[in-house]
Symmetry: C2
Subunit: 250 residues, 2 copies
Amino acid sequence: MEARPATATDPVPAPAAPVRPRRTGYRRLPVQQRREQLIAVALELFAARPPEEVSLDDVAEAAGASRPLVYRYFAGGKQQLYEAALRSAADELTSRFAVPLAGTPSEQLAAVLDGYFAFVAEHDAGYSALLRGGSVVETTRTSAIVDDVRRAALKRTLRHLGVREAGARLTLLVRSWISVVEGASLSWLDEGRALPVGELRDWLVDQFTAMAAATALHDPQTAQVLSALLALEGPQATRAERLREVLAAR
Amino acid sequence: MEARPATATDPVPAPAAPVRPRRTGYRRLPVQQRREQLIAVALELFAARPPEEVSLDDVAEAAGASRPLVYRYFAGGKQQLYEAALRSAADELTSRFAVPLAGTPSEQLAAVLDGYFAFVAEHDAGYSALLRGGSVVETTRTSAIVDDVRRAALKRTLRHLGVREAGARLTLLVRSWISVVEGASLSWLDEGRALPVGELRDWLVDQFTAMAAATALHDPQTAQVLSALLALEGPQATRAERLREVLAAR
């Protein structure tokens, strides 16, 4: 986390002789820096355990701060802290949707998926709890943050496909594929990461091609997009060729 | 709803002269029948509006019952009534997963999807609210009911494919396809049912074939299942043939 110019300091004075800063003493930090630190610490705890099992005291202790101090930054308590941590995680995830300039469309998609799985691996329990639903900290606000991320993923994917105005069927295809990515990452965590992440990534790239092909049967716009993608794959289009082979009736 | 043998009657006596039973008077009903009636009425209301907008009084009024009577059956109030209604809807949906005996695999899948979309159309707002998350009535219990339905769908689909022991990849394929079905039905409701439901159903059948093909590239078990399905399609395997065409590089 970057240190930003201080505009004020913690409203709680530091004790005279802090011996172990993270447990018994409170360090004086600039306001913006303290806020970011609390969010970062909360995010780490919410990533490691379901939100039910994280208390405000846990965050305070891990941040080397007092409970009243945390409340001064987050008057709404744990729920507000959770939402701030979620927003910060959402921003981080969205930033990973940037598509690299080099490579074929499949290679670019694979690179974005690598970033996605790195994020999932890092936020493990928190990611599961969030997407699984039924959590006590889930509200219309947290759902809206998740929806924002999905919308950003949709937008980036359509841009990656070179589409300006997506029709209903192409939109449905991309949304569906994104839900497959989400589901696959949850299954991956559930199964203790048993499937190699590289295989899962390649499977998702192949799924994109296959799902686009199924949509192309119903939609000229998707047919055009798929055709352009296959042309760009060049010698890499062997995956599409292998799809054709398994679809041949015997 | 079937009338069952009465074992007791409503604990609240019916007024002397009920003129309009559904608005001003309370009818005396056998206990089991009254319970089922309350659940059916609640389900109808929860289907039409998000759970936030349905009150216990709404249910009482629509059922021609008093508020205390509803509480006598559902001491946990609206939340308990919601969960009972959800459980009843889940049972109904699961019963629709039965695969017809006649037809090719694609025709059978299409028939099950028709039943699914009929259910979705009937439970509209309640279905959306439930699957979208962030609802105030959502708890670990309601999530567990939804998970039960997904598990039943997975089990039925694997049985339909003639699979006894599904490996991780085949399971992931079926789970992913089920999430595509869910997402597509939500999109369909969101867009005011603009896409013809028959097209959506055919798109989902094609998605199953395409997604199975992509999985077959990574998994011998799925390759075997797909190959058997294509053989059973017979002259209907023209869909797979069309998938092969759109996947041909130009």
